[in-house]
């Protein structure tokens, strides 16, 4: 009785989270093992036979190895966007926190506006076409950086407030120029938030479906999320291949997450209290 009272709620919470988080995952994995006929049933049944390898080969080679191109595109997109995001967001946060001017209020308004106002697709396409970046990977990189910047800046700014200004001043007296202060003193100290930013933004950008769909048309430009369309159409969907594809493209974010997992929480709460 007392055991139930003591652990009952915890066990219940664990069970609920298991249902919510693990069952969809198990469903994906099991579907990836099925053949086309069984997958078509869309039920939660044990796979008959081992079809994972044939599914994988089929998914990877479809449409002239499109998934490989997509992986390369997505990797370039993610790495480039996140790198720019980290550097620019940290710079903006640093200057905004350290240098008080009468423009600060306006700048903060723009940052919040960037978070709140939904991006307008058609004008953005029009703009990208105008400057010749529509349908180009670097165009999409800029779009992702623009969309991700406000959130990253907010994360950084709170943390920079906890870095004593004396550190900047000590560096200045030591002979550091502004770029030295930022890259040699401030940026290394921002590592916990940088990790958080890397994980949050790289998962978001890697898993982004709509922005590549709007701004990066064309088979050669496909990103991983767009390859999902290879296996579904209005009247006919190969569920076994679709889920194999999902399983494959879930791996990179999962690796990133497992790799940085322990440092994320530190970054999220860093700056909350003086450490």
């Amino acid at each position: 009785m007392s055991l139930v009272r003591k652990y009952g709620l915890s066990v219940l919470a664990i069970l609920v989270s298991a249902v919510v988080f693990l069952i969809p995952f198990a469903f994906i994995i099991m579907m990836a093992f099925k053949d086309r006929t069984q997958a078509q049933l869309l039920d939660f049944s044990w796979p008959q036979g081992f079809h994972l390898w044939t599914n994988i080969v089929e998914v990877v080679t479809t449409r002239n190895w499109m998934l490989l191109t997509a992986f390369i595109n997505s990797s370039i997109l993610t790495v480039a966007s996140v790198t720019l995001l980290v550097i620019f967001a940290a710079m903006v946060g640093f200057v905004l926190q350290r240098r008080k001017t009468r423009f600060n209020g306006l700048i903060e308004f723009f940052i919040l506006a960037g978070l709140m106002i939904p991006p307008a697709v058609v004008p953005t396409i029009w703009l990208l076409q105008g400057i010749g970046l529509f349908g180009k990977l670097h165009g999409l990189i800029l779009v992702e950086v623009a969309y991700g910047l406000p959130f990253s800046i907010l994360l950084y700014r709170a943390f920079i407030a906890t870095i004593p200004r004396e550190l900047d001043e000590a560096a200045i007296i030591d002979g550091a120029r502004p770029f030295d202060v930022f890259f040699r003193v401030i940026l290394p100290l921002l590592w916990p938030v940088t990790v958080t930013n890397i994980v949050v933004q790289s998962v978001a950008i890697f898993n982004d479906f709509t922005n590549p769909l709007y701004y990066l048309p064309g088979n050669a430009n496909a990103t991983v999320q767009l390859t999902l369309y290879n296996f579904q159409s209005q009247f006919n969907t190969s569920y076994n291949l679709l889920f194999t594809n999902i399983a494959l493209i879930t791996i990179p974010p999962l690796v990133v997450f497992l790799f940085f997992n322990r440092q994320i929480v530190a970054g999220m709460t860093a700056g909350a209290v003086k450490g």
Partner: protein, 362 residues
């Protein structure tokens, strides 16, 4: 190595003026201490010398160079901060060598300089550690080491000891004094602790409200304070003051009396004083002694018996509160009357505007 010259230095934030025209000459190799209460502008003045704050008006000369617009790195200065300001992600070795690295000093020269600084400060065994693995005193030592390797013309210290515990403070204070002796560099030191000021300084600069109150050797400030503020600020416990009326003026002496005090003739500058003027008399707690029939009688309000001395808080008839320090142990009860006397030449007469009237030195 070089001296410093501050000419009518001003600093304003918007309409608020924090430094109101400071003139000061610091000789080469001198140890100068800025003291003053919180918010008096002493740290601001130091930061202006360092180049961390812009100079609103006036001139700052370091050596032969007018430094108003010169970048901090080109001023030939090094600074030690109150909270150490060590770079947490670097080892002690890298912390000390950071300035040299930025100056693109060759690696072997850099290494030699870092090890030399570490040897001077006896912290060779700490070089591979991170600041978080050091104690407060060790961190301060690293911060000083970072200053030494730059071989600066002028060392600037911004309350470097206030984060240390009492025992370590004494120890580090001695180390800084020794460092000054060994390096022979010009040092400017900001503190609110007058023990640090008295023990370290060749020259103390007392600041209040952005204005220099007095500049002088420590003992001179103690014995001949220029005004009420300096008199009250230097010396612990602080000087007692009482308002008195001039009764008679004779050659080199002023006879004063008041509600709290019988008539007594004090040596002072007498020009412009006439009987009936109200002046302030100041006397240090240590210069009072118990004597029946003394000039001052008060009621004992609190007694602190320390064994070697007794600190008495006393209420005068005018409700003024005085502190008295008597040598040795005195068993006094609260509420009893205590008669005190003092040597007239230990007392100081202050004008109504606070200026001291010290008798002229021969």
């Amino acid at each position: 190595m070089a001296g410093l010259e501050l000419k009518s230095l001003h600093k304003s934030y918007g309409n608020v003026e924090v430094i109101k025209g400071v003139d000061l000459t610091v000789e080469h190799g001198e140890f100068v201490v800025f003291v003053g209460p919180s918010g008096c502008g002493k740290s601001t003045l130091l930061r202006m010398i360092a180049g961390l704050e812009d100079i609103t008006g006036g001139e700052l000369w370091i050596g032969e160079v007018l430094c108003n617009g010169v970048e901090p790195r080109d001023r030939g200065i090094a600074m030690v901060f109150q909270n150490y300001a060590l770079y947490p992600h670097m080892t002690v070795y890298d912390n000390v060598g950071f300035g040299l690295k930025l100056a693109k000093t060759p690696k072997d020269v850099r290494d030699a300089k870092i090890r030399e600084a570490a040897r001077i400060l006896q912290m060779e065994h700490l070089l591979e550690r991170k600041p978080s693995q050091l104690s407060g005193g060790q961190r301060q030592r690293v911060a000083i080491g970072r200053a030494i390797v730059r071989k600066p013309e002028v060392f600037l210290f911004d309350e470097p000891l206030s984060n240390l515990d009492a025992a370590l403070r004494v120890e580090t204070r001695m180390e800084i004094a020794k460092l000054h002796h060994d390096l022979g560099a010009t040092m400017i030191y900001v503190t609110h602790d007058q023990v640090e000021a008295m023990t370290l300084a060749d020259k103390i600069v007392v600041l209040n409200g952005g204005v220099v109150q007095q500049v002088g050797a420590p003992i001179e400030l103690y014995q001949r304070p220029a005004n009420l503020f300096v008199a009250g600020f230097i010396g612990s416990p602080k000087m007692n003051f009482v308002s008195v009326t001039v009764e008679a003026v004779s050659a080199g002496r002023v006879a004063v009396a008041g509600k709290d005090m019988a008539s007594i003739a004090i040596p002072a500058r007498t020009d412009g004083l006439k009987p009936g003027d109200t002046v302030t008399l100041g006397i240090r707690p240590h210069d009072l002694s118990e004597e029946s029939g003394g000039a001052i009688v008060g009621r004992v309000a609190l007694v602190e018996r320390l064994g070697n001395e007794t600190i008495i808080s006393m209420q005068l008839p005018s409700e003024a509160s005085w502190l008295v320090v008597l040598d040795g142990d005195h068993n006094l009860s609260i509420g009893q009357n205590l008669a005190l006397s003092f040597e007239p030449d230990r007392a100081v007469i202050f004008d109504a505007d606070g200026t001291a009237r010290h008798p002229d030195l021969d």
